[in-house]
């Protein structure tokens, strides 16, 4: 492809990099990334992906913008309160970069729709905020062989890694099953420093871009742990678990599981 004058200026700092160049920028413009979650992690991640010139950015979120989101979900503004998050996100991206085709999904992701939604994308980003959806995304990406960029936050703690299909490991190698309700911190205990998802979401964008460009070392096989209070980044080995119920030697999971449905039977 030939870049327009505007694109040459817009992507100059990418094109200059030996690891990116015009060829890399073309890859980015041809790539399709699915961002699941348009909240705290999704906002910085989507912003950087949009600015980088990801050609197609899918954004999934059923939710609307609430005033309490704005402390960290930086692509929504005060005047967006009450709007669908994906609509607000689309406006923000288009304001930054008209090259990006934003596809919005105003629905909760579930076992019935996830395969259909992710099938056309090159990379999936888990920017969600709950365990059932995280396990669902992990399992779907395993079955559909999609690279998954994982990021998670709680209070002052952040985690990030990359799960590559076939190579492994997967999220279930790290944590085989979701924690039972009641053993995770209750709502009253929860909360999050607004900057924290900014840092982890930006790391997710970074990893997605590297996967598309095929450059550097991704976090695959490494769990990055960030402690915002002590300002410490540490790294743990993340190994493929032979006993993993999804990608291990004798798997027991062959289809998508909706943990959310368990609530019906919770006493």
């Amino acid at each position: 492809m030939d870049f327009s004058e505007e694109q040459i200026k817009r992507y100059a700092r990418h094109i200059i990099l030996p690891e990116v160049g015009g060829e890399g920028q073309e890859k980015l413009l041809a790539s399709k990334v699915l961002l699941i979650g348009a909240g705290g992690l999704g906002a910085p991640c989507g912003y950087y992906l949009g600015a980088a010139g990801i050609g197609t950015l899918g954004i999934v979120d059923y939710d609307t913008v609430d005033l309490s989101n704005l402390q960290r979900q930086i692509w929504h503004g005060t005047s967006d309160v009450g709007r669908y998050k994906v609509d607000s996100a689309k406006d923000s991206i288009e304001r930054i970069n008209p090259d990006v085709k934003v596809v919005t999904y105003k629905e909760g992701i579930n076992a019935a729709n996830i395969k259909e939604i992710i099938k056309d994308y090159d990379v999936v980003i888990d920017a969600t905020d709950n365990f059932p959806t995280r396990f669902l995304i992990n399992d779907a990406c395993h079955f559909m062989k999609k690279p998954l960029v994982y990021g998670s936050i709680f209070r002052f703690d952040g985690q990030a890694t990359v799960f590559l299909p076939e190579e492994g490991p997967c999220y279930r190698c790290l944590f085989p099953t979701p924690p039972p309700a009641g053993l995770v911190p209750s709502c009253q205990e929860a909360g999050v420093l607004g900057v924290l998802p900014g840092i982890i979401g930006a790391i997710q964008a970074n990893e997605a871009i590297k996967i598309i460009l095929g450059i550097g070392q991704t976090l695959n096989g490494r769990l990055l742990i960030y402690d915002a209070l002590d300002m410490k980044f540490t790294e743990m080995k993340l190994r493929k678990d032979k006993t993993c119920p999804l990608c291990g030697e004798t798997p027991t999971i062959f289809e998508l599981i909706e943990y959310g449905d368990l609530c019906e039977f919770k006493s």
Partner: protein
């Protein structure tokens, strides 16, 4: 004028840095190893900045010449240092 047989020519008079290098690099990406590009610029600092960046990225700068009152040419061999 140079004694090299250029395969391609890029006239980017009016451009300033870093776009002089950005456009030179995009032109080089479309060429094959060993092919010669002649870049014409009229932004004087570019005759130092562009060759340095080209060399850093593995191209071989063959010559830099002032060709008239305002213009300069940079002759570069694609991947000449790889």
């Amino acid at each position: 004028m140079s004694e090299y047989k250029e395969k391609s020519e890029l006239n980017i008079k009016g451009e300033i840095c870093p776009f002089t290098f950005v456009k030179s690099k995009l032109a080089l990406e479309k060429m094959k190893k060993g092919e010669i590009l002649r870049v014409v610029v009229d932004y004087e600092p570019a005759i130092r900045n562009v060759p340095r960046s080209m060399e850093e990225q593995g191209h071989k700068v063959l010559s830099i010449n002032k060709i008239n009152e305002t213009d300069y040419e940079i002759i570069v061999e694609k991947d000449g240092k790889k």
